[in-house]
Assembly symmetry: C3
Homo-oligomer: 104 residues x 3
């Protein structure tokens, strides 16, 4: 028996990781997973200071699954408004199915 949930993925510069993780926990998520990667594009360019720079850089993808859609929306909005005006990054969501509601 599976349940619908929302996976939030946040791709951002590594320097933002601790603050975003804190935000995720304070919003009520029960956990998150972090993967290191590289990339190119708007998730790595600081708005304003280097608008045309699209070089490779160190980034992280933070994944969070929450069963409650309102919590998901709150995390997405807070991350986007707090971090992605000055620093760039992307945040997106996907529909997932989970088995055990109590874990999320």
């Amino acid at each position: 028996m599976s349940h619908q949930a929302t996976k939030i993925s946040i791709v951002t510069e590594k320097l933002n990781e601790p603050q975003i993780e804190q935000l995720i926990e304070q919003a009520g998520a029960k956990g998150y997973t972090v993967f290191e990667g590289s990339g190119k594009g708007s998730h790595g360019v600081r708005a304003g200071s280097r608008p045309s720079v699209v070089g490779a850089f160190a980034l992280v993808k933070i994944e969070v699954i929450v069963a409650d859609r309102e919590t998901a929306d709150a995390i997405v909005e807070q991350v986007a408004s707090t971090y992605f005006n000055n620093y760039s990054g992307i945040v997106y969501t996907e529909a997932v199915e989970i088995l055990r509601l109590e874990k999320f």
Copy 2:
């Protein structure tokens, strides 16, 4: 021309990786991909022994795509029942579109 398929993601402690990969192959999946990461939450806490510990730890995400929904359900159920009672971890599925059915 694309086809519907199911992507299974298993996030768990690294020590479970070989056994879960074996389970995946025995269930009939044709391949899997593994990414190393870190995280916090119920996917890293062993049930019972350290119920309130949520520290950072080494984990893996194993991704498997299968075209057949019954195979996907079998893998999800087996992973959850075999590993995630004693060890913690999470397993979830997503709908994906693939191009070539014979690869999955």
Copy 3:
């Protein structure tokens, strides 16, 4: 206010990475993210030369999000036809929701 978009995931041998990234940019995507991993299966076996070899190997997953479905389809078709006849690999898409259209 969120928007529908398509996430393309390309899992392939690391040697294909530069050419595929170039293809992605030329197709009009505004960015991509790359994660290193390992795996087993058809995404790591070169067609023809080693049809039954399924050992572990170094691979990358390249993720691209595009708001425009036609651009997504073009990238998927080009990657599959250019690389995955001689080299193996997998390409699949997922529906995602994004916040800011101008980033994708």
